[in-house]
Symmetry: D2
Subunit: 288 residues, 4 copies
Amino acid sequence: MTTKKRRSLFSFLKNNDWKQYWTTKISTVSQETGNSIVRGYPLCDIIESNMSFAELVFLVLKGELPNEKQKTMVNVLLCSIGDYGFNSMVSVPGRTITSASPDSPMPGIAAGLLSLGRTYVSPQYAGELLEQSYATMKKENLSVEEIADRVVREYTDRGEAIPGLGHPLYRSDDLRAESLLKVQHELDIFGEKSEIYEAIRVRAEQEFDREISLNWPARVACIGAELDMAPFEYTGIAAIAYMPALIAHIQEEVTEGVPLRIIPPIINDYTGVPERPLPERFVKVGAK
Amino acid sequence: MTTKKRRSLFSFLKNNDWKQYWTTKISTVSQETGNSIVRGYPLCDIIESNMSFAELVFLVLKGELPNEKQKTMVNVLLCSIGDYGFNSMVSVPGRTITSASPDSPMPGIAAGLLSLGRTYVSPQYAGELLEQSYATMKKENLSVEEIADRVVREYTDRGEAIPGLGHPLYRSDDLRAESLLKVQHELDIFGEKSEIYEAIRVRAEQEFDREISLNWPARVACIGAELDMAPFEYTGIAAIAYMPALIAHIQEEVTEGVPLRIIPPIINDYTGVPERPLPERFVKVGAK
Amino acid sequence: MTTKKRRSLFSFLKNNDWKQYWTTKISTVSQETGNSIVRGYPLCDIIESNMSFAELVFLVLKGELPNEKQKTMVNVLLCSIGDYGFNSMVSVPGRTITSASPDSPMPGIAAGLLSLGRTYVSPQYAGELLEQSYATMKKENLSVEEIADRVVREYTDRGEAIPGLGHPLYRSDDLRAESLLKVQHELDIFGEKSEIYEAIRVRAEQEFDREISLNWPARVACIGAELDMAPFEYTGIAAIAYMPALIAHIQEEVTEGVPLRIIPPIINDYTGVPERPLPERFVKVGAK
Amino acid sequence: MTTKKRRSLFSFLKNNDWKQYWTTKISTVSQETGNSIVRGYPLCDIIESNMSFAELVFLVLKGELPNEKQKTMVNVLLCSIGDYGFNSMVSVPGRTITSASPDSPMPGIAAGLLSLGRTYVSPQYAGELLEQSYATMKKENLSVEEIADRVVREYTDRGEAIPGLGHPLYRSDDLRAESLLKVQHELDIFGEKSEIYEAIRVRAEQEFDREISLNWPARVACIGAELDMAPFEYTGIAAIAYMPALIAHIQEEVTEGVPLRIIPPIINDYTGVPERPLPERFVKVGAK
């Protein structure tokens, strides 16, 4: 995905010329006025125009404004998490940390987002599988079915679970993914990359002889890929999508929650060694 | 702001009855299907309806859908950061950390958000001043001018800067705040709380005998307060508003940035003690 | 505590002379060899000499090596958390986040440390009370009893809990604080600042007519203050003290824990509005 | 490394029996007194005995106290970072974030640690290579030279850099790694796993026809492996080792640093599109 060659730190140290040590195409700010030009557009005009947040997200990430379909698709992605109550591995740690550190919402927000990982919500891993599969398919001139077959075989041979298939918590279809898929078809944003993941899903159903659905992270990866976004970009969108719930839970915790959150005795168990004395070589400070 | 009395951990430990240890009004999720009901509305319907993200944010935080003006105001808040290039204390640490830890965007995102604090972007502190001023004004039956006078005198007496006035980086008006104010007036969302901060600003101009403007955090605090949001809630909205830029910079860093970000020698200085040997009592491991 | 006047960003922008934008007294590193001189001592000599970690902590923070008593005291502080099983608001969020994001221990470590706050473990707030009390006592030439009286009255008048007194979770004495106090006396590191907090404790017992003990954060603040450390410094030591447990729990989680950590149904409750349909204005994407 | 089979969340949901949802071998705490038994030993005895922090780290992580050599080795690891001035991707982001969020050291500490990643300091990736190489060697009954040959060939074929070889920032040997190696030999803690990495190093020198040294992360991985620690465990030790510097820099920042840390104009460049007007469809809020 990178076309520009990245410069090494060595090359800067060698020349001691640092002007281009930090470069960006995203925005530039007047040191005098603080006026920012975001992807070329004056920030003040963006604010006063009521540009929709979905448009802003697309603009900032991709450099140009979205068309109507892209705008709708980004907006729907942003609304596709909502909240997950106490099944949430984002809001619950966010609340726990806020309970202990209640002076600001930021520790809870930062910590909550760190839960977005390989086993929860993050579409990054499904997206990396998709991008690698696509690259291999193009390079080796394979069909969608051929690359799907190879992916399923490789994961099966290694005894690893294929990212994006099934749901870790619910046995049924991922309903959010189903809703996203409907919108994706309605907007006609379903191209070759989405077909690859669909083929992987079908091939996996054959392999394991049971119904298997694509989960939310895989569906987001397909949609993100069709919007020409990189995995880090739609993973960021997933993080934004979790923010309203995270903030609402943090506010609920500081106003109505229990100060100090432990694991209640009824759901925990100590399985370690029983109490024992320290070896004799340890003597009290000051003892002769 | 809290009406419900918070239960202590003691009361749960004493009764060993934990059913209400965690309660929420935000959503409930079916353990079978994973279907989530967000503030009463089925998540799948939210997704398929293309509800705007600004509406979702308001719904999740406040429990009910916004009217048109509230929806517009929240959307404009979400778009009022855009990006701040290399003047950003959010994106720059986010990029630096991603440079060192490039396997996922989440460390950079979490770290970047931790920069939202007392001296940068967070509207929490202006909001807390505003809420305290409003409460005192109501309790003591003061006029807007009287509470403003008291605030300015108290901070001046303590030799502290008043939150929300002026800009730490730019000497001129805060242009984003100006644009937000225009929208606020246009939507007629300018009530008593906004008047308090305006009175503080005017009173401070008299006190310090120079032009002083309200900055972005103060303006966001006023607007958030008019929308009946708590400081943690609009601080969370400020965090969302910074996320598109943060994500875009992280993606730019992993594709075009310099791997390993140091402080270049031309902008740093060592001012500590010169090299010296360890005291003689320190001998090499294994030395006799 | 600051003697040097901090330079503003304006002064750098105005002159466009950035050489001293970043300065440090802590260490300097050869750009050629990577050899570091830490507070004057070559890092390689430190490593090879088996300097104790407690000595290194003191050296890096304070600029000079500790004497024997200081070294013992810092080491004892570092060992005074151990682990707190499932009563821990550090390890439990650390485990939860690692469960969701298991590719690295760092998200769990960072998130766990964010729990060190006003209501859990952090000695910062007791320390700030102590430093302010000490400064006022010296400035107004008060006795230890007089400043203690004023502190207790001020907090009581505002209806606020006094930091450092009692324990949020256990009704008895804080045993770790008791052990630390024994060591403090044994090493004869109990000076005027420790006496201030003791006087506050005694005065509070009179005020509330019950036995009250100093908790771990208050004891750490006293000891840190006697070692001439700032609140941020001994709060950092508290963070280090929690790290072994945090790391051990994270390792236990990835090897033996349950992948995906929710709040079990037997300890949670939904108290929000029942299911309801979206208003009619929301129609499905693509519907006419 | 896991012997116990991890239970799935399904099995708990199915039975609605949650007693063993959270289990630990690390410690147990009296709900009455708050007394903690850490790996069997009473925490109060640990505190009063002046057990060294290196012993505590080993005890908490491994379940038993270390022998003298293990204790020395862990202590030396903890002291092997010291500080890296402005070449640090831990302390510098920690300072920047503290500059923006100066109410507590914890945001800066948490963010700083998030820099420990694949390209900076973390020994996890060298450790994972080492553990996989060791497992393959044992499984296929290979010699140390054979597994080293295979590793170098595999990375070379894929065009990837081998973790643990050379230094990203300094062209010379990694002096800290050299010092650690001396101590490792002195303590006679140099076994088969260390030999594997040495063989990889030698084989890589042949392949690339130049001198190549093992860097700090690789050396820490070797030592950690010889101490029978998992990669997450010695990565945690690396994080502890960086904490004294991180704390010292944060304290220096709040007392002597510049409030608000930007990237100075002399080292940055905007390379994006020039200013342009928004498309005509964007009209001001309230405009007809």
